[in-house]
Each structure stands twice: as C-alpha cells, then as structure tokens.
C-alpha cells in the first residue's frame, strides 16, 4: 500500500465512520416500526475500531466478527443494500433473510459470517488463516471480538494455536468495558490483557481511546509484518457503546453505568472530530452522499420480497 495523501485518508476514514454511524442511527429509527424483527446490537460510539483497522486491509483480506458487526461489515465494504434487506428479513438480504443482524456475511467482500455465540468466530478465523498460509498467500485475517469474549477458554486456545503456527491473524479486542450490563471489574481478575497475550509471543498493543488514526497506523505496521510472514498480532481498543446492549435505545437510567461516561466519550467522538477536520463543504458533500446511499439501501430493503416458504428447506445440506 502506497500512502495516499493525508487528506484522502481523512476523507476515507470519515466517510466510513460517518456511514456506519448513520446506518445504525437509521436502524435505530426504523426499529420501533417492527420492520426489523431481529435483535440488533449497535456499534454507535465504537466505529473507529472497525474503520481504523479495515482501512488498511486489501479487498482480499478477511474479517470476522460478532453479533455486533454492522460496523466491521460496512468498514470492510460489505454490501449495504444486502445488509438492510437482511435486517428486514428479505430474500435479497445477504443471507436471504435467514441470518438477521447477528449473522451478517458477505463472502464476496471477504467478510466471514458473524455469530451470536460469544467467542465462536475466533478459532474459525484461525482456520481461515491456516488455509491462507497453506496456500502461500499473503492475505491476512482480522478477528474482531469483545472484551467478554476474552473470558471464554476458546480465546486462549486460539492465541496459543495462532502463535504456535504463526498464523496471519490480527486479533482485535473491541473493549467497550461491558458485557451486556456487567463491567470489567466483575469479570476480569485484572486488566493485564495485553501483557497476558504477549506471553504467547504475540505482540500486543492497547489503545486507551480508540483514536482512528493511531489504530490505523499501528494496524498498517502489524499487517505489513504479517504479510511478510510474521505471526499473529493483537490489539486491545478501549471504546464505549453509546446505546443499550441490544436494541435501539439508550439505557443510562438503568443504573449499571453513568451518563457522564458517555459524555466523556462523546466529547472525543471520532466521527465529529474527523468531520470537523474536513471543513464544512467537503463534509456536507460526503454526508449527502451517505444519506443517499442509505436511503437507497432502505428503499431496496422495503421493496424487496420476503423469501418464498420453500426457502425454509434450502441449504440445510450443501450439495
């Protein structure tokens, strides 16, 4: 990757951040209409982790994520129309309506299917990376997961195996400090995660505030090493989920966290910061394009048909 001029990068990052933010806000707006009958886990506030990493990827690189994957899906270039149609349960959805928000996939853009069971996709990313290595390709796999996933045994098994086999996997922990409503203190004996990961011989770096450019710059280096045959790397990106765990609303009145936390994070909102950096005109143009793109995607979803009943029985087994 030759470095594009800095302003181009900012435009690209902003466009992606803003697109994700607006898509999810639109999802939240639509949600009360009951048109989207599937649990949605929004990433509003966490966009920089998806964007900073994915911006450095080639089209043939692979990402793998969780039920909270709208952001990574969009950042990696997943088809937006197919995503909205999927949320609507339509035949034109990225999985024909069978998946819903929690199981987005777009293999055409090398987005592996996401999963509603925490931690399950991490070793699957490794398997994909094994195939890449076996075939002598220089592609890489990015595995996204939450802070909660690091508590599952499979996460540790995966770290050990990735390091043992020197697989081209970038582990990205989106540490939004909560698993549902449970703060880290009730789940982690200590917060020395990166240190722990390093004991596997995996280089690890923690980002205290999800600055999109720092994430991007670091990822570039990590991935360059990986393409050159280096082993796995790890990033822990501290971030904050602005909305409730699942669903469109806010839940600062629920008692498990304080609105002041949100305010501190929204003060350093990356979408706003990059937007401001672009200047009013350029930003407005991009925003308009984005609104247009989203409107088209929603319209596509609205006007698409539901799958035929016979679809219930297709794809149980592959031929």
């Amino acid at each position: 990757m030759n470095g594009p001029s800095s302003i181009d990068v900012t435009v690209r990052l902003y466009r992606s951040l803003r697109l994700i933010r607006r898509v999810e806000e639109v999802v939240a707006e639509i949600y009360p209409s009951d048109k989207i009958k599937s649990p949605v886990h929004l990433s509003i506030g966490q966009e920089a982790v998806a964007v900073g990493v994915c911006d450095t990827l080639r089209a043939d690189d692979v990402v793998s994520g969780t039920y909270r994957s709208h952001a990574a899906y969009i950042a990696k270039g997943g088809d937006l129309k197919a995503m909205f149609a999927e949320l609507y349960g339509k035949a034109t959805g990225c999985a024909g309506g069978k998946a819903g928000s929690m199981h987005l996939i777009d293999m055409g853009h090398n987005i592996l299917g996401s999963s509603a069971v925490v931690g399950t996709t991490v070793p699957i990313a490794l398997g994909y990376a094994y195939a890449i290595r076996r075939r002598g390709e220089d592609r890489v796999v990015v595995a996204y997961f939450g802070d909660g996933a690091t508590e599952e045994g499979v996460f540790h098994e995966s770290l050990n195996f990735a390091a043992l086999k020197q697989l081209p996997v970038l582990f990205v922990c989106e540490n939004n400090q909560f698993a549902i409503h449970q703060p880290l203190e009730k789940r982690w004996a200590t917060d020395r995660l990166c240190e722990r990961v390093e004991t596997y011989g995996i280089s690890a770096k923690k980002f205290a505030d999800s600055n999109v450019e720092s994430i991007r710059t670091h990822t570039q280096g990590a991935i360059a090493e990986m393409r050159a045959g280096g082993g796995p790397a790890f990033m822990e990106c501290v971030t904050y989920r602005w909305r409730e765990h699942v669903g469109p609303g806010e839940d600062y009145d629920a008692g498990y966290r304080d609105r002041t936390e949100y305010e501190a994070w929204s003060d350093k909102d990356e979408v706003a910061r990059l937007g401001a950096a672009l200047g009013e005109n350029r930003r407005a143009d991009i925003d308009a394009e984005i609104e247009q793109q989203i409107a088209e995607a929603v319209e596509f979803a609205e006007s698409s048909p539901f799958p035929a009943i016979e679809e219930l029985h297709t794809h149980v087994f592959a031929g």
Binding site: S38, P39, A99, G100, I180, V316
Partner: protein, 354 residues
C-alpha cells in the same frame, strides 16, 4: 392454564420461578444462584430480579463468560454440599457446558460409587420469535436426556415452574431445568407457600378418547389450543404434559395411547433422536396394540431469522390440529383451522427487541 393448586392467586411463570428460588434460598443457606447476568437490572427477564439484594453477592453473582469452567464450579460446589443453580439465558450456550455435564456431572455419583452427590440445577431458557435465529432458539434437551445420571424437567406453566424448581433444587442429582421464554408471562394459580412437583409423573391436562397428544414445554400450550379447535370438530383429544422428561412417566402416556390408538408427540425441538422419538419408541415397546404414532417439532432445518420462514419452522395450534385431524379422520377431507383463531395470547403479547 389449569393446575391442581388450591389457591386463587394468579402468578406468572417468571414470578413463580423467582418466588420458588427465593423460598429455597431462605430455607437453605447452601443454595446459591449464579450465571451470566443473574444480578443485573434485568435479572434474567425478571426470574432472578432482586435476589442479590436479599441474599447478597456471595449467593447471587454473575460470572465471567466462561460457561465451561462455571459448570465445573457448580459441580465442585455441589460435591462440597452446596446446591448451586446455574442459569443460562439461552439453552444454546449449554453446548459450552457439555463436557462438564456429560463427562462429570452426570457420572460423578456413579463413577465414584456414591461417595459424592452432585445436587445442582442448570436453568436453561429456550428462545423464540423476533428473529432469535439459529443460535438463540434451540431446545436441546434431548442431548441431556440421552445421558444417564441427568434429570431433565420442562415445566409448561407457572404452577409447575415453581414446584419443579423447588423439587430440582432439593434433588440430589444434576437437574436440567428447561424453560421456554414465551411461557414467562403466562400465568396460573400458584400457592404462595413452598411446594414440590414430583418428577416422573405426567399430568393428563385434558381427557379425550380419539387421540393422545403429548406436548413438551411450551408446546403443551399450543397443543391445548389445538385440542379446543379439534373439539369444535367433534374430535376429543387427550392432552398430556410429561412435566419431567427424565424420569419420564411413559406408563401414563402408553396407557392413554393404547386407549386412543393414536399418539401425537409435539416437542419444541427437533424430532430426530429427540424427546418425541423417545416417547414414540417407549410407547411402542410397551404395547402390542397397533398405535398410529406421529411426531411434530422443529422443521429439520436450522432456525431461520425472517418471520415468514420462522413461522413455518415451529409447530403451532393450526398445524397440530391439522395433523391430529388427519390422524383421527384419515379419509375425511383436509381440514385446517382458521389461523386467526389459533393465535395464542402468549405469542401476540411478545414483542422485541431483546
């Protein structure tokens, strides 16, 4: 839902669970409840709400996302004489617990020749609707039923929910406690005082002579509606709730099926090697009378998210009544009740997101 309680207190399934839990915790200091999110402000849809305030964080606590180890913790605490209740908001997550449940919990009492007992309860909720989809909707109870040493119970109503939970907690064996999320807001007469519902005794919920319908967990509710629709057609269905799946009161079911000559088992699960297969096979082994037997359950597919397909995935009062009708009157014209009349209150009530 009718239930044999002598009380006029109507309580929801979720409140019955909560009450049963709290009462046992008051009675026995060794009882504790843990699992992801049992102590948050949602309290497992309300079924553990407030327990932490009354009993403290030592006896009511969330855990890291570590289902495998936490199941081991339950076993170890049980061996030490405590009575853990380990809660899972989706039964699908039990797949992470299988090693401990199958290889340790079920076997310890036997393998160690009675030197230890493992009195633990695993509460597992089955999800449905609102696009819960492939991994948040599975009823996987038959996997546990297969393993000797585990008890499996699936209360279909608030009365049984409380009584079975009490029985489960007092039982000296690992008990898998199957809850269906759509039942949570159904209500029944539930006595305030503590009581037990015995395992291994099926309940004949409606008597009838033309066909025996067995409904497992929430499917009992759907079968009851089907029974009403059938009775309008002059078909008299006997409806049986097994209540507990291990031990299973196969005798009551067999006696009924031998009498009616027809057996339809409806489970909230796949049928292949499912509870429904066991019930059909168990009945067939016990009687030489020819019995027409059929099973209903999930479509033999993964559960899709979109409502148009999800609706087809599950049995419902219409399809149950239709199937029963065809069994009783094989030569009659096809009959299918009006879907509008078959809607269940508990389904209409339910609304996402969650």
């Amino acid at each position: 839902m009718s239930s044999p309680a002598e009380t006029d207190r109507v309580v929801t399934y979720v409140d019955a669970l909560l009450e049963g839990m709290a009462q046992e915790m008051r009675l026995d200091d060794d009882v504790f409840v843990f699992g992801l999110d049992v102590d948050d402000h949602k309290g497992i849809q309300g079924s553990t709400l407030g327990l932490v305030d009354e009993f403290g964080a030592d006896r009511v606590f969330t855990t890291p996302l570590s289902e495998d180890a936490m199941t081991g913790v339950a076993i170890g605490a049980a061996i030490a004489g405590m009575r853990p209740v380990h809660v899972h908001i989706r039964m699908d997550f039990l797949m992470l617990c299988m090693n401990q449940l199958v290889n340790m919990a079920s076997k310890s009492h036997y393998m160690y020749d009675g030197q230890v007992t493992v009195p633990m309860v695993v509460r597992a909720m089955i999800g449905k609707s609102w696009g819960q989809g492939a991994q948040h909707s599975q009823g996987l109870h038959s996997l546990l039923m297969h393993i000797p040493g585990l008890k499996v119970v699936a209360p279909s109503n608030a009365y049984d929910a409380k009584g079975c939970l009490t029985t489960a907690i007092r039982d000296n064996n690992p008990v898998i406690f199957v809850e269906h999320r759509l039942l949570y807001y159904t209500d029944a007469y539930v006595p305030e005082e503590s009581y037990t519902v015995p395992f291994g005794r099926a309940r004949t919920v409606r008597e009838g002579g033309d066909i025996t319908i067995v409904g497992v967990s929430n499917m009992l509710v759907e079968c009851l509606r089907a029974q009403e629709l059938l009775s309008e057609e002059g078909i008299s269905a006997e409806v049986i709730d097994p209540v507990s799946l291990v031990p299973l009161d196969i005798e009551t079911i067999t006696a009924s099926a031998a009498r009616t000559g027809r057996l339809l088992v409806v489970d909230n699960a796949w049928t292949n090697c499912g509870a429904s297969a066991e019930i059909v096979a168990g009945v067939m082994e016990r009687t030489d009378r020819p019995i027409m037997a059929r099973r209903m359950g999930y479509a033999p597919t993964t559960c899709p998210t979109t409502p148009v397909l999800e609706d087809e995935f599950y049995p419902n009062p219409v399809t149950i009544a239709e199937k029963a009708h065809a069994m009783v009157r094989p030569h009659a014209a096809d009959w299918r009740p009006d879907p509008e009349r078959a809607k269940l209150a508990y389904q209409a009530q339910f609304r996402g997101p969650f």
